[in-house]
Symmetry: C2
DNA sequence: AAGAAATTTGAACATCCCTTCAAACTATGG
DNA sequence: CCATAGTTTGAAGGGATGTTCAAATTTCTT
């Protein structure tokens, strides 16, 4: 299947297959798994990516970027800092324990202790997410919507940290902490940190 | 080396070696690595643990328990809730990016998405740490030292979550977030959550 | 000290996995 | 339709790893 693709498209297909394989078998997924996910044999994969590790790295890097890009894109659809904050918190959390994006983050978090490349990628992602929240907080403060209890950087760091941690809990299938609970836990902090009730009044979207 | 040990002691030695191997090579460390860390050959390891996976599991379980036990032990040496809180937060964080205990937690966090056993172990650890903080907070509130901004469970969950997340950041070698920064970030939250400055005034122990 | 039991070794074996490569296949231009 | 370049296959090679096991070694018992 998938015969007449261009070189670039073929590589992207394989990167996608690799991402899938990592989700299923961990950061050191096997070449066979990637090949199977792509519907080809090992040799075909090697033809495009002579080094398997390079393919895995590319797949994981792409996965992280996609996660971040989607967050930014979702954020951009709102103007109200309150809406932005609430929606972004929710978006940063996995839907359930099978959520692919966050499971990838967790996988890489484990590998970061051994593989500096993944440590660097995750650190970069964290910093960018912090900057994202920091900007949101500062805009809200400038507009008088937020009255920040600490400096924006501190709050932003803590918000991303909470997201990360509850992501792990949800992926691990915590019996009582699902996405909604995690959202309310994080917003509990965000409320006191911003001195804002963080309620979206324009619609009937009630956070449990 | 290590000849005349009892069966039980021998197993513990091997479990320790396995723990070391996991830190170096990840959750799927190889039998050879364990054997080398223990100073024996593969066969000797298999004699005591016919299944390698079982040994790895036992090693990781033991590592988690030790982490928790040490926290509780350190906690027990203080009576003042403020001291308890500050010291416990610090103790939950890795000393640096090479900290063994926390690196193990990170490793397992990555594997939890695929292996339910590790998910269960980490969930249990999280809940016990939450209970630990919850108790601390309630005692402090009862004594009038803390005035909790939310219910104790919420604050406790967030405190452990922050610890976990900053543990990952430190293990990943974040350039600006070390243990001291992480402590102050977490205490920034804890201060508003407990309405207490969280300063230890009884001694001249200045955190670096 | 001698025999029995427990433990460890080291090698053999089977399996898995990455890599290479010649041959087969496909697409595309002439 | 042919020729050429690009792509994929499938098999073979080689290294690493888990497992088994008889022999060697050590420890325990008497």
């Amino acid at each position: 299947m998938a015969k007449g693709k261009s070189r670039q498209a073929r590589r992207e297909t394989l990167v996608g297959a690799a991402r899938q394989a990592v989700l299923e078998y961990g950061t050191d997924a096997k070449l066979v798994h990637v090949a199977h996910a792509a519907g080809v044999t090992s040799g075909a994969v090697l033809y495009h990516f002579p080094d398997v590790k390079e393919l895995l790295l590319e797949a994981n890097r792409a996965g992280l970027e996609r996660f971040y890009d989607e967050r930014v894109a979702a954020l951009a659809t709102f103007d109200d800092p309150v809406e932005q904050l609430v929606v972004t918190v929710r978006n940063g959390l996995p839907v359930d324990s099978h959520d692919g994006s966050v499971r990838l983050l967790c996988e890489l978090g484990g590998a970061a202790g051994r593989q500096p490349v993944y440590a660097a990628l995750l650190t970069s992602l964290y910093d960018r997410q912090v900057a994202m929240y920091e900007s949101m907080l500062k805009v809200g403060a400038a507009r008088g919507v937020f009255r920040l209890a600490s400096n924006a950087l501190t709050i932003a760091r803590n918000l991303v940290a909470l997201e990360d941690a509850y992501g792990y809990r949800i992926i691990a299938g915590h019996p009582t902490i699902d996405r909604d609970i995690a959202v309310s836990l994080i917003l509990d902090y965000a409320r006191t940190a911003t001195d804002n009730p963080l309620v979206i009044n324009s619609e009937g979207d009630d956070e449990q």
